[in-house]
């Protein structure tokens, strides 16, 4: 890299924060900006968009905080199948409880829209599911999850997990269609569902 220098114009508030970051690492602003630019150019050359990459790191951090871990999908299905065969009702219960636990984390957070935050995170965690759609209106939640790779046992356990989530958010399932590889649920706010039911 040649040492001939040029200038560019950047927002002062951003350069100030980058400068502080550089200081903490014992770098000069010049070195820090160089490093950031070199990394960006390298990433772009390999077809990686920096914004997407940072989002990916954020997903990993959120997953960790939410008690998720990365596992091979095939191993996960094998384990699910074995446990389901051995202790169906207990396994269903454990998945339901996992849904309750996860949803409680959002319900008790200070997030302005806990359901939206939950939905956004779950969408990010389920990168292996080709069709994942959760829609929420004022009174109703619709869930549509489809993957040809889901075995029957996993589909049923996933439904139990979602049931735990929805109940914790105060929704009661009023309509459902669950078959191997596909989950379609409709849920309404509990009081309303009871009135109609």
């Amino acid at each position: 890299m040649s040492e001939k220098r040029k200038t560019f114009v950047a927002r002062q508030d951003l350069t100030k924060r980058i400068s502080e970051m550089a200081k903490r690492r014992g770098y000069s602003l010049y070195d820090m900006v160089n490093e950031v630019f070199e990394l960006t150019v390298k990433a772009e050359d390999s077809g990686v968009n920096l914004r997407n990459a940072v989002e990916e790191l954020g997903v990993l951090k959120t997953a960790k905080e939410a008690g998720f871990i990365l596992c091979m999908e095939s191993l996960w299905y094998d384990m699910t199948e074995l446990a389901y065969k051995k202790a169906k009702s207990k396994t269903l219960k454990s998945w339901f409880n996992a849904g309750v636990w996860l949803a409680k984390r959002y319900v008790t957070s200070e997030n302005a829209d806990p359901f939206e935050a939950f939905k956004k995170d779950l969408e990010a965690f389920t990168w292996n599911t080709p069709e994942f759609n959760i829609e929420k209106t004022e009174k109703q939640v619709s869930v549509r999850i489809i993957s040809s790779r889901f075995p029957e046992s996993y589909t049923l356990l996933y439904e139990a997990f979602l049931k735990g989530v929805l109940e914790t958010f105060g929704y009661k399932t009023v309509d459902k269609e669950v078959e191997r590889g596909g989950i379609r649920l409709k849920a309404r706010k509990e009081a309303e569902a009871d009135e109609r039911g």
Partner: protein
């Protein structure tokens, strides 16, 4: 931050050819240089805010990319532990076999894609198994000593992870010389 304050500008020096590369990257993204630079600086701050160093961020992204290719899925750790315990009661041998094969599959991919497969396996474990509090690899020309420690792993989960690691190392052309697995701790010595 007030809008006026945020809009104040400053001149920053960079090497001429690096600025040319950045300008080219901005052009490819159909963005002006100033927009591209602003976004780049913001993302650098975000990475820092997430607590990653540059090396960690690069390594983690490589691992995430590999996980997508290999079929990784985010799963609730509590449920995984429950499933492991339940399935282990009657299907221990089958499960050990499945995890070993999965490790071999990972190892094959790592061997093909990474210059230093042993260090890549370490990064894999560190980046994805955050239930491990320590992953240590000591390596010389022909020997690899690997140690994983966790305060939360169950006995069953430790044994399965141990099989996974062994499978991966066998695919990277190492043979098991010594192994010791007890609840929350895996110790291996492998030879080429």
């Amino acid at each position: 931050m007030s809008e006026a304050k945020a809009k104040r500008k400053r001149l920053v020096y960079v090497p001429e050819d690096l600025l040319a590369d950045v300008t080219e990257a901005a052009r490819k993204n159909s963005e002006s240089l100033s927009m591209f630079v602003e976004e780049t600086l913001k993302q650098a701050l975000n990475v820092n805010h997430l607590g990653y160093s540059r090396e960690q961020a690069t390594e983690t992204l490589q691992v995430m990319h590999a996980h997508r290719i290999l079929g990784g899925a985010f799963v609730p750790l509590d449920v995984l532990n429950y499933l492991t315990t339940k399935a282990y009661e009657t299907e221990k041998e089958k499960l050990l076999d499945v995890w070993y094969e999965s490790g071999k599959w990972h190892g094959k991919y790592i061997k093909e894609k990474f210059e230093d497969p042993v260090q890549a396996l370490k990064s894999f474990l560190q980046a994805t198994r955050w239930d491990l509090s320590e992953v240590e690899v000591r390596q010389d020309e022909s020997t690899v000593k690997l140690r994983c420690v966790s305060t939360v792993l169950t006995t069953e989960a430790t044994e399965l992870l141990s099989k996974f690691v062994e499978g991966a190392m066998h695919s990277i052309d190492y043979k098991t010389e010594k192994s010791d697995t007890l609840k929350g701790m895996i110790v291996f010595e492998f030879k080429r």
